[in-house]
Amino acid sequence: MSDQSVIEAQQRRSSRMQTIYRPLILAALALFVLVAGRLVSESLPSWIAVQTVLSLGMFLAVIAFGQGLVMLTGGLDLSVPGVIALSASTVAVWVSFMDGSLFVGVLLALGVSLLFGIVNGVLVSVLKAPAFIVTLAMGAVLEGFSLFITYGRKSPESPELLVTLFSGSGKLFGIGIPALLFFVVGIIGFIIQARSRFGRNVYLLGSSLEASRIAGQPVNFIQISIYAVSGFGSGLAGLMLVGFSGNAQLSLGTEWLMPSIAAVLVGGTIIGSGRGFWQSTITAGLMLTAITIVIQSTGVSSGWKSVLYGVVVLVALLSTRSDIGRRRRKKISQDPL
């Protein structure tokens, strides 16, 4: 009986490690990176830098939410840049060349993003095609479509409302709106992933597809909704990035794919294991954004940013592995049988 309670206490401790300590450590690391940025740039750390990290971290969080769900179930969504480009060019072309209303443009952009997310989901779940190559090919198709929409036109201007909302020029209580939205996105994501029925179903599916099926879950439907959420998130991020950057270039999304995957991995999610937590993902995103800002302020080649991202991911992978190892060893040594 005491053995049982020891095991339970250990499991509680280990899950606290994942749900509370890991995000705190990552957030502290993000702050540390900004403060250490003092070594390379006089202007760091500053209130503006903190706001920038939160704003860029918000865009990253919106993309990483769907990416994280996809990775929990063993896939990768590489169509992110394509969806972002399509959603961005849809809304920008609709508003500035078709003279349509922004509201309809936003609905259209989100609609097509959702649609192609669903197509990804159907191909992966029903036809059992490997996720990363399906989404990669879909990304190529979507970039082609975006090229078609903007064909022969100069890159369209962004709708004004989006610029005010997402470029940081609009302020609430003296803080840029995107920085505030970071917390809103964080809370909504937490509720969906950790507290909703959908979130629980995703975790179950991720830890075992068979168990999920035997438990009577609509496995295909859940898998399709995961990819739909990911497509929707990328589409939403596309709208935000149109406002943030001031125009709708086709390359808007290319630099957000790898950071979104890296944030999920650094946050401790193990691909296809059904283990991983949203609060760690978004704080990992903050840390990666802080690293990017510090590197950019030094003016060294942007290649070093990628190198550092890759190294951080490898280190994070090794750290999640040592977590698993410790738990397995404990389980075996504590096993009453």
Binding site: L123, L127, A129, I133, V134, A137, L317
Partner: protein
């Protein structure tokens, strides 16, 4: 049904056979349209097409080997980029043979690092190789920020000399035939089909897996040299498309993404097919964006068709022999084709 029909069905359901048929159809369309539109067909046209295809063929075969073994490797595009910028920025006047050996060793080393993380570290291959891909692409930009530099002229002329490309393709096919029947080749298929069973029967599974990662890395290195020869200069972003095209070539070639089944010859024709698509679209005169869309759709189609047929094969083999572990090819469908 008579056996003749069974034989035809066997070729069509076989991944390699399907790839060859698909390639032949595309080549016929391309070359006939090319000649009827007065653009002319000569040996030089075919030659340049093959030279363009060589790097993709070699890199895709590396990817295929890893997939047959039941793992994934996304780092090919990164290795090719680093090899390309290294040759263009520093090795421009070196002995070409030394360049080939050095670059293959570099690729092999990166494959070894991947393998150590995946096999000994027990980490998901897709995550590890994605991380090495990001690192290598970043390094390539650091080494050569702007497209520039030159590739040893002997290397460029050597690859473009008459019959060299055809020769390399023949060598690849023969090497695959030998490797497939070698001990390592057989183990590679067996590991992909059922690693647990092989481990239980006392075979050095980890050593073989590491070996395949190293071989794949060396092939990416060679692909990098070949790409440099056809590009004649250095560009850190030139290899980005290889991430999609290597897997697309593998899928069109009929290699199952679940491991244990596949063929490098199929992949070879998959790569040739993939590079014939833009040629056909070009003679049809379609525009830039349609080309992108058509390309992506065809890749999706190939992947879905491959996944679908391996799904069906899995069901059939489970029905017929619940505990057998087929090591290679599809003997079960082959016999079934005869008496269906």
């Amino acid at each position: 049904m008579n056996t003749k029909f069974g034989r035809i069905r066997q070729i069509v359901t076989d991944g390699t056979g399907r790839a060859v048929i698909f390639w032949l159809i595309l080549m016929t369309i391309w070359l006939s349209l090319q000649s009827t539109q007065g653009m002319g067909v000569d040996a030089r046209l075919i030659q340049s097409y093959l030279v363009l295809a060589l790097p993709l063929i070699v890199a895709s075969i590396g990817v295929t080997l890893v997939i047959i073994m039941g793992q994934f490797d996304l780092s090919a595009a990164g290795v090719i980029a680093v090899v390309n910028v290294t040759i263009a920025s520093t090795l421009g006047s070196w002995n070409p043979l030394l360049v080939v050996v050095l670059m293959m060793a570099l690729g092999g080393f990166i494959g070894l690092v991947n393998g150590l993380f995946v096999i000994l570290g027990k980490l998901p291959a897709i995550a590890v190789t994605l991380a090495t891909l990001i690192i290598l692409q970043g390094l390539a930009i650091v080494i050569l920020p702007q497209p520039s530099g030159k590739v040893p002229p002997f290397l460029v002329d050597g690859v473009r000399a008459p019959f060299v490309a055809v020769g390399i393709i023949v060598v690849i096919i023969i090497a695959w035939m030998l490797f497939k029947r070698s001990r390592s080749g057989l183990y590679m298929f067996a590991i992909g089909a059922d690693p647990e069973a092989l481990h239980l029967s006392g075979l050095p599974v980890k050593k073989i897996q590491l070996k395949i990662f190293v071989i794949a890395g060396a092939l990416y290195g060679l692909a990098g040299v070949l790409m440099s020869a056809s590009l004649t200069s250095g560009d850190a972003n030139a290899a980005d498309s290889f991430l999609l095209t290597t897997f697309a070539a593998t899928a069109i070639g009929g290699t199952a993404f679940v491991g244990g089944r596949g063929s490098a010859v199929g992949t070879l024709f998959g790569a040739l097919t993939l590079l014939a698509i833009p040629k056909v679209l070009f003679v049809f005169g379609v525009s830039d964006w349609t080309q992108k869309v058509a390309f992506g759709l065809l890749v999706l189609l190939a992947v879905v068709a491959g996944a679908f047929s391996s799904l069906r094969k899995n069901r059939e083999s489970m029905l017929l022999a619940p505990y057998s572990t087929p090591t290679e090819g599809e003997p079960i469908t082959a016999t079934k084709g005869g008496n269906a």
